[in-house]
Structures are given as structure tokens and as C-alpha cells.
């Protein structure tokens, strides 16, 4: 019904991508992912501590879900770190997809645009299908797209903030100026209405984690986001009415009772 969505040619039925972190427990994560209908999930790599058993359980749960895996390079501060983590991810997860994160500021986790371009170039040359987590800067996004990043993932607001769309002008501009790019809003959404808002703008998808995982009921919130993403997509395809600064009655005026043509 809602036209095809794909990531580097891989078709996905859901335009919602969820993260796997911060859930109250693994079972809740599994349920939320299932109930959302999402077909791709983000995850990461960290140093293995042999004495900790939780990692194996997580990996087993994720594998059981049979979702497409989107590994990230969260926490990387240099091109070399990001490239190495991407290469390790590709070996473990057997996917060319990489959510490229290169942090330029530790306070708001803002992506470093300069290093992002350098890392994206190296990874694309190495055969990766790069999904850069970026700011909503038009020129940065244009450069990333020109490099060969077919999918761009601009933020709506800082990671984990739940603030929603801070700069709707910038996001609308990205959509208008990069009509052929697959644009997925990643980070900063807090409510289903935020997701619906960007889908109404014509974004291709939404990636989020905290808004679902930190809800009082993550499973129900996952469903809510799923519906919001669908609603927003339908609204975009349906085409919204034009705004106007004056009222316009929706009920016909003609035939209104109690009205006389002349004063009695």
C-alpha cells in the first residue's frame, strides 16, 4: 500500500528501524521489536568480558528475531576507530551495512561532519553500504550523497534527548533538495507524533531507540511508533491540503435556514 522502501536495494516492509539498547530487560526488547513490525535493528560491538554472560544471551535473542542487522560505530571519535569497528562488524554480522557514527562533541553527541566524510569515503571504497548518522546540514548531506551514501540519517535532535524535530526547516530542505536519497531521521525523536511529523514531510523512514526502550510500556510504545510511521507515510502520499490564514466553512452555506433575503 505504501510503496516500496529499501536500504541499498534490500526491500523492507516497515519504515521503522529500532535500536536494541536500554530496554528494561531482554524479553521486553524482543517483544517490542516483534510488535513494532520492524525488519531491521541496530546493534553494536564492545570488548568481550569472558566473565559476563549477558552478551551471549543478547546475541541469541537477536538472532532468533531474524531481523536485518544494522551495526553501528557508536562512540568512535576518529576515522580509524570507525573504520576498524566497521570492519569488525562486517566480519561478525556478515553485512555490508554500517550505521556510521563519528562523534564530534561529547556533550550533545553531535556527529563530526569532517571526519564523517573521510570515514564514509574509506568505507565506501572498501565495499561498505554506509548509512551515516549526520546533522541536518544540507551541504554535509549533499557531500555524503555525492560520495555514494545512498542512505542518509540526519538527526532530529541530539541522541536520546526525545526533543523531537528541532529544525523542521532544515529537514524539509533536505527532503526537497535530495529527492532521490533515502532519508531516515535518526535520533532525537521522543513521541510517535514526532515520527509522524517527519514521515509527513516525506522522509523515507525513522530510526529510534530511547523513545521506545525508555517508555513505561516499551511494547505498546513500539506499536504506537509503528502506527505513527504508517500514518505519516500515508499522509505524505495522500498530499496535504494547503494552509491559509483565514477560515473557510466546510459545511455549505447555501440553503442555510433562518436566513431571509430581505429584512422583514
Amino acid at each position: 500500500m505504501q510503496t516500496e522502501f529499501n536500504i541499498y536495494g534490500e526491500p523492507l516492509n516497515s519504515r521503522l528501524i529500532l535500536g536494541s539498547a536500554l530496554y528494561p530487560n531482554p524479553a521486553m526488547m524482543q517483544q517490542a521489536l516483534q510488535q513494532s513490525g520492524c525488519e531491521a535493528v541496530t546493534l553494536s560491538l564492545r570488548r568481550q568480558a569472558p566473565e559476563q554472560q549477558g552478551g551471549e544471551q543478547f546475541w541469541q535473542l537477536i538472532r532468533d528475531l531474524k531481523l536485518r542487522l544494522l551495526p553501528n560505530t557508536a562512540g568512535c571519535h576518529s576515522v580509524q576507530q570507525a573504520v576498524t569497528l566497521a570492519q569488525m562488524s562486517r566480519e561478525i554480522f556478515q553485512t555490508n551495512w554500517i550505521k556510521l557514527e563519528l562523534i564530534g562533541d561529547d556533550y550533545n553527541l553531535q556527529p563530526d561532519p569532517i571526519l564523517l566524510l573521510q570515514a564514509a569515503e574509506q568505507l565506501l571504497a572498501d565495499g561498505f553500504e554506509v548509512l551515516p548518522y549526520c546533522t541536518d546540514d544540507l551541504v554535509l548531506c549533499k557531500r555524503l550523497y555525492e560520495l555514494g551514501c545512498k542512505v542518509l540519517m540526519p538527526w532530529a535532535a541530539p541522541i536520546g534527548s526525545g526533543l523531537g524535530v528541532l529544525n523542521p526547516y532544515a529537514l524539509r530542505t533536505l527532503r526537497e533538495r535530495l529527492p532521490d536519497a533515502t532519508l531516515i531521521v535518526d535520533a532525537g525523536l521522543g513521541l510517535p507524533s514526532h515520527a509522524c511529523q517527519v514521515m509527513e514531510m516525506g522522509f523515507d523512514g525513522v530510526l529510534l531507540n530511547s523513545a521506545v526502550a525508555l517508555a513505561k510500556d516499551p511494547v505498546m510504545m513500539a506499536q504506537a511508533f509503528s502506527q505513527a510511521v504508517s500514518a505519516g507515510r500515508c499522509a505524505f502520499l495522500a498530499g496535504a491540503m494547503s494552509k491559509q490564514d483565514f477560515a473557510s466553512p466546510s459545511t455549505p452555506v447555501l440553503g442555510m435556514p433562518f436566513w431571509l433575503q430581505e429584512t422583514p
Binding site: 535500536g19 552478551g55 569497528l85 569488525m88 566480519e91 530511547s210
Partner: protein, 70 residues
């Protein structure tokens, strides 16, 4: 003096100092559970290269596994 040569090698393993008695990367790996991936001094080491990889004093070895992420 036909004393057996005992290798003692100090490296950084996942950020902690560790003394090894073998310089072969492959000798170190059985203690880790699959799946894992390896980086040596910040560079990726593909699984196919494990048998050919020698460790040196002061090397930084990272062995990573899947975790949750956003």
C-alpha cells in the same frame, strides 16, 4: 646451558595489562566465546589472519562481541 626459553610478553588486552607466555595470537583466542572480532593496535585483523599474527610487547589487542546498540 640448555635452559628452556620461556617467553614473557606483556600486552594490553581489552585495555588491561596482561602477561602472555606465547606470542601467537591464536593461542590467546580460545578463552573468548564466538562470535568475536579482533583489532590489533587499532587495526582490524581478519579471522583468516589469526594463524599468521604474532604479538609484540606493548601491543594493544581488542576483542569485541555483539552488544545492544541504538
Amino acid at each position: 646451558m640448555a635452559e628452556h626459553m620461556k617467553i614473557e610478553l606483556s600486552i594490553w588486552l581489552n585495555g588491561k595489562k596482561e602477561s602472555l607466555n606465547s606470542s601467537q595470537l591464536s593461542d590467546l583466542l580460545p578463552r573468548f566465546k564466538a562470535p568475536f572480532a579482533v583489532a590489533l593496535n587499532g587495526r582490524f585483523i581478519a579471522a583468516a589472519q589469526y594463524p599468521n599474527t604474532q604479538l609484540q610487547a606493548g601491543d594493544q589487542l581488542d576483542i569485541v562481541s555483539p552488544i545492544a546498540g541504538g
